[in-house]
């Protein structure tokens, strides 16, 4: 299909809106059959990247190839090979679920009978068969998003783009959508999704591209990214609220960064370089100072901590998003 063997390739994508540089040279190489997550805070350029790759938005500089076709030169061929689920469920609220899928099927140039048959298949696949006749306006958020997903799968596209597929869904709706994405990926669909939820990227993606201020700042599997932060985190829960500051001072002496203190829950968290050695040192120092600990644990960094470390920012992804 594609000489480079990539489902999506973007080189130096740039896009400027007036003063603001939304994309400052995005590079992406997504192999066939993988699930790639674009992870970053609001305004990082995730949606603009997806819109550029799906032919919805012109970009100022750079080049992009999707499913083997140049996005700028052959947008119609790209559109015939992709599915897109945007941020708002882009389905017709007035029509029923089956009517929606049949309409989109017709617009994908299936004949009437095939479009109707494909609609029924997809409704069945996404557990919407019973609601097929009801107007979409009466659907729950999760149902609507699944219908949206179904609509983007009418031609079983080899490359699927999902822009924040679970934003605004309750945990149940989110799990339903996650399950559908896993099934698609297992069947070989290349998926590129954006998210501001670390857990989502961790759960679904083979590879994650961390995006900040219109650039890819790091890339790798969730495990690799966490390993890039060459340190583990130690978390101490002290028994007595009065000893929190004394404990924090001890932990701070042994850690490689200023500890974070949650006074209410009496938790002190800090990164340590030599994980097991660091843990023993902390236990010993707390014992010497006669500070009683309820719990001491060592854990791998979260993607949020990786993100903070790489951007050098004090804000976390979810804080910025909130």
């Amino acid at each position: 299909m594609n000489s480079t063997g990539l489902a999506v390739e973007a080189l130096g994508l740039r896009k400027r809106y007036g003063e603001k540089e939304a994309l400052a040279g995005i590079d992406l190489r997504v192999p066939w059959g993988s699930v790639r997550g674009l992870l970053g805070p609001n305004g990082a350029g995730k949606t603009t990247t997806v819109q550029a790759l799906t032919t919805l938005r012109r970009f100022d500089a750079g080049s992009a190839t999707v499913a083997g076709f140049d996005v700028r030169r052959e947008p119609a061929r790209v559109r015939a090979r992709i599915g897109l689920v945007g941020q708002s469920a882009a389905v017709d609220e007035v029509l029923g679920g089956a009517q929606n899928l049949a309409l989109f099927g017709r617009l994908y140039h299936l004949d009437r009978a095939t479009a109707r048959r494909r609609a029924d298949e997809l409704l069945e696949q996404f557990g919407l068969a019973d609601a097929g006749r009801k107007p979409v306006g009466t659907y729950s958020g999760g149902m609507r998003r699944r219908l949206d997903l179904a609509a983007s799968l009418i031609l079983a596209p080899p490359v699927l783009f999902l822009d924040e597929p679970t934003t605004g869904l309750d945990p149940r709706g989110r799990n339903e959508v996650w399950q559908s994405i896993r099934e698609l990926a297992a069947a070989g669909t290349t998926v590129l999704l954006t998210t501001q939820y670390l857990e989502e990227a961790d759960q679904l993606c083979d590879q994650i591209s961390l995006i900040d201020e219109g650039r890819v700042i790091a890339e790798g599997s969730p495990g690799e990214l966490k390993a890039r932060l060459d340190r583990d985190y130690i978390a101490v829960v002290v028994r007595d609220a009065d000893s929190v500051s004394a404990a924090a001072e001890i932990v701070g002496r042994l850690a490689v960064a200023i500890p974070e203190i949650d006074a209410e829950r009496r938790v002190i968290t800090a990164p340590v370089r030599n994980s097991v050695g660091g843990l023993t040192d902390v236990v010993r120092a707390l014992g010497d100072a006669r500070i009683e600990a309820e719990d001491i644990a060592l854990r791998r960094p979260t993607l949020d901590e990786v993100f903070l470390h790489l951007t050098g920012n004090e804000r976390s992804i979810e804080e910025v998003a909130a």
Binding site: I82, A151, A156
Partner: protein
């Protein structure tokens, strides 16, 4: 199931895509009306209420320029103003699709880009045809009639639909341009003075000079003047250049509106990708 659709390169299959996609979009609009019949009913109730209100409430106080029956003067006015007010329906429908991301889905699909607007235009025109047919029935019921032959009457109906067609493009442009519901409401208010400043309900000759001149040059008045003439209904008087050339103006105005708003609509649609 994997279906690969080949995107046509040559003009003739591309045109076929444009036509079938436009018709699919038209069918979508028709399915909307089938799902929401109350919208059709309210859409019809409005012109019928205007007809009843002006005929029975204000009708006694109205004078017809050049003399004649107020019913014969009013009914073509209701036709024309209904065609004009259709701009709101077009604008609201276009805006709702853009706001809900449905337009974005269409744009990400391998369909003919012109079909989204062309389908809307065709659907609105078909609906207006239905509305006009019902209004003609209502007009005949209250005692209105055409007096200059069926051929002329048909010409008049064609001019009314041409006016509607022209304002479809205004509606599409405004629907894409106006981002919010507030913007829609503003336009909905502004259509009233536009309609009032015409010869729909009263004659421009009864207005102060400058206002009358504006009313005479109103595209709505041009169509109206021409249709009144073609129906043989009263009110097609006045000695100014515009009223003397009403039929010409009833063609020129809509064509000029299309010439301006069709390219603007295309540009606004393209600008969605900026």
């Amino acid at each position: 199931m994997t279906t690969r659709i080949e995107v046509p390169n040559r003009p003739s299959p591309r045109l076929r895509w444009a036509l079938t996609d436009s018709w699919t979009m038209t069918e979508r609009a028709l399915a909307h009306w089938a799902r929401q019949p109350w919208l059709v009913v309210t859409g019809l109730a409005f012109p019928l209420l205007i007809l009843a209100m002006f005929l029975y409430l204000f009708g006694g106080g109205m004078t017809v320029p050049g003399g004649g029956d107020y019913r014969d003067f009013l009914v073509p006015g209701v036709f024309a103003v209904t065609m004009f007010f259709g701009v709101e329906a077009t604008m609201t429908a276009v805006n709702a699709d853009a706001a809900r991301g449905v337009t974005e889905r269409f744009r990400s699909m391998p369909m003919s880009p012109s079909a989204t607007v062309a389908g809307r235009a065709l659907a609105d025109l078909l609906f207006s045809l239905l509305v006009l047919a019902i209004l003609i029935g209502a007009g005949l019921l209250v005692g209105w009639d055409w007096h200059a032959g069926l051929g002329n009457a048909l010409q008049a109906f064609a001019l009314l639909l041409l006016l509607r067609f022209a304002f479809i493009w205004v509606g599409i442009y405004l629907g894409l341009l106006v981002g919010s519901q507030e913007g829609i409401a503003t336009v909905q208010i502004l259509v009233w003075p536009f309609a009032a400043l015409s010869s729909v309900f009263t004659s421009p000759e009864d207005m102060p000079g400058w206002l009358g001149a504006i009313a005479e040059w109103n595209p709505l008045s041009a169509t109206l003047h021409a249709t009144r003439e073609l129906f043989g209904n009263p009110g097609a008087t006045g000695g100014s250049w515009v009223t003397e050339h009403a039929e010409l103006m009833a063609l020129l105005w809509p064509l000029a509106i299309i010439a301006v708003f069709f390219p603007l609509s295309v540009r606004a649609y393209r600008a969605l990708g900026n």
